[in-house]
């Protein structure tokens, strides 16, 4: 018997006094591939941030692998890809150095990088098709390639569940495809995936279940919504440009 990997029950979140989520329920079972959809401001990013403990919950409870989040310590089982426009910081860093951060959940302070660490980093870079850029500086990569590096960082820890916050936002087509291929392989190996997305794109065939948020509440939990026809596609590039029929 295995309980849900992620169990969100009646969760409400307020940010700066403004309610962002109200009484949200979400369960993700072992091996499931769940997409969390919604327009900008619907609270989907806040929900995954609450799940990984980056945003305090003001009501309800979050359990990860059956353990309340507050006492969860087994972070190596969880891989997280935050929403970032860029992965760079104030000092140059190579692709390998950033992906190696993903091994820290399996390391202890003062411990050196092991051979297992190096092999896991290389395997993670191969999975996202970036092995040939391992020694490059992050700042010289495109936005899509940097996003793939952040995904590799989450994979390097060999997690059982992968939580991704808008990993394909602003990503070019080859990167999106490389990323979809990597996720397909992982899902095939039994990794549980919770993915926040604006548009599913090449990921659509992988999604088993979609949860749609609107104004901080779940309005749909079931099969992924069908893509809208091209005729409805508005060329405004504004917040209404969400490409998902259920979201507008």
């Amino acid at each position: 018997m295995t309980g849900p990997v992620l169990d969100v029950h009646g969760v409400s979140v307020q940010l700066a006094g403004r309610p962002v989520l109200s009484r949200v329920d979400l369960q993700v079972g072992q091996g499931e591939f769940v997409a969390l959809l919604g327009a900008n401001g619907s609270g989907k990013s806040t929900l995954v941030r609450a799940v990984v403990g980056l945003v305090p919950v003001c009501a309800g409870r979050v359990q990860v692998f059956g353990t309340p989040l507050g006492s969860f310590r087994d972070w190596r089982r969880l891989g997280y890809v935050p929403q970032r426009l860029t992965a760079t910081s104030g000092v140059p860093a190579t692709v390998t150095e950033v992906v190696a951060e993903g091994r820290l959940s399996r390391s202890a302070p003062f411990r050196r990088t092991t051979r297992t660490d190096r092999e896991a980093v290389r395997a993670a870079l191969e999975a996202v098709g970036m092995a040939d850029r391992a020694r490059d500086s992050l700042g010289r990569l495109s936005g899509g390639q940097q996003q793939r590096v952040l995904i590799a960082r989450a994979l390097a820890g060999r997690p059982e569940v992968l939580i991704l916050d808008e990993p394909t936002a602003g990503v070019d087509v080859p990167s999106q495809q490389a990323f979809a291929d990597a996720l397909e392989t992982l899902a095939g190996h039994g990794t549980t995936v919770l993915l926040v997305a604006h548009e599913l794109g090449p990921l659509r065939p992988l999604v088993q279940r979609a949860v749609v948020l609107r104004h901080g509440q779940v309005v749909h939990d079931g099969p992924p919504p069908a893509p809208v026809a091209d005729a409805h596609h508005v060329h405004a590039h504004g917040p209404s440009d969400d490409g998902e029929g259920l979201l507008s």
């Binding site: 910081s89 000092v91 950033v98 820290l104 020694r135 091209d230 060329h235």
Partner: protein, 329 residues
């Protein structure tokens, strides 16, 4: 007698080498998290510590270390709380630190000259006891900065990710603050409190023009730190100025020289040009020749970074991928 024959010069040089190693080691992490000016703030606060030592007759390096550490931890706590008023709170702490230092020094009956040796460093006032303290603190800072490199790198690179990876981020944040305070105390006798931050930041800024990895940036910055602080001490001996001034001027000269050199080399490299904000063109669905072609890394069209996506130069205009077609930008 050469300058190396003088005991005070030997002590000043040893102090300069230790400071030159430790300051950029901590500085690299501070620059990484875009807190280049935090060392300056800690230096201001430490001045009150020095003055307390002068007033009470205690050992000023020790009192400076205690007050600087308390100040640095306060700064870090204010930062972690993330309040909008935090910025003003830090400003008050910094100015209060320097004003308190000047006030207490005056009360202690010390002259401006004494204060100057702490503000801008001094060759002749590094006592043997000072040197032992400097060596001990520098060693602690270096061991922590190098042996916790992976953890500190992760925390400074992406604090939220580090938290989800299970790192005790507040512990590392406070540790880094304490390391910065110890470095300020270490560097105080040689470069002085007002210029210590430059030795933490300028070698890093110089190094990162030439490097592509964090590790080499850290090591090169430490190497440069040793070179500029030793050269500064030697220059200070010959021209009789405060060593802090000569060290920082040499460090900045090195930065400018590297920037000119790097600029000349960089123009020969192929870099992805970045489009300025405001150049966002009208979004028109592209003509249909792209149906037979998918733009990508190696499609033969030059890539231009454009805000959050990549455009591809295509027959004199730019293509941006948008769902199932390309927009012309």
């Amino acid at each position: 007698m050469t300058m190396f024959g003088y005991d005070f010069m030997q002590r000043a040089l040893v102090g300069a080498v230790l400071t030159g190693l430790a300051a950029p080691a901590v500085g690299t992490y501070l620059v990484q998290r875009r807190q280049a000016l935090i060392g300056d703030g800690i230096g201001h606060v430490a001045l009150t510590g020095v003055a307390l030592g002068l007033l009470t007759g205690a050992f000023p390096v020790l009192t400076a270390m205690i007050v600087a550490t308390a100040g640095a931890v306060t700064i870090e706590v204010v930062r972690m709380r993330g309040r909008a008023s935090g910025d003003v709170a830090l400003a008050m702490l910094f100015y209060g630190g320097i004003a308190g230092g000047v006030l207490l020094t005056g009360l202690a009956g010390n002259s401006a000259a004494t204060l100057n040796t702490y503000l801008f460093g001094s060759l002749t006032t590094v006592s043997p006891t000072d040197l032992w303290v400097i060596a001990g603190l520098a060693l602690v800072v270096l061991v922590l900065a190098l042996s916790l490199r992976r953890q500190l790198f992760a925390v400074c690179h992406d604090e939220e990710y580090a938290r989800v990876a299970g790192l005790r981020v507040p512990v590392y944040n406070v540790l880094l603050a304490v390391m910065a305070a110890l470095t300020v105390t270490t560097a105080m006798r040689v470069v002085g409190l007002l210029l210590v931050s430059a030795l933490m930041v300028v070698p890093v800024a110089t190094a990162q023009q030439l490097t592509r990895s964090f590790r080499t940036t850290l090591l090169l910055a430490m190497g440069l730190g040793v070179v500029v602080s030793s050269a500064g001490v030697v220059l200070s001996y010959y021209v009789d100025v405060a060593p802090g001034a000569s060290i920082v001027v040499i460090a900045i000269a090195g930065f400018v020289a590297t920037a000119c050199l790097g600029g000349a080399l960089g123009r020969r490299r192929t870099t992805m040009p970045e489009l300025a904000e405001g150049e966002l063109g009208v979004h028109v669905a592209a003509h249909d020749h792209e149906q037979v072609h998918t733009h990508g890394e190696d499609c033969g069209h030059d890539a231009v970074r454009h805000g959050d996506h990549v455009d591809y130069l295509h027959e004199g205009h730019r293509h941006a991928q948008h769902v199932d077609h390309y927009d012309e930008h």
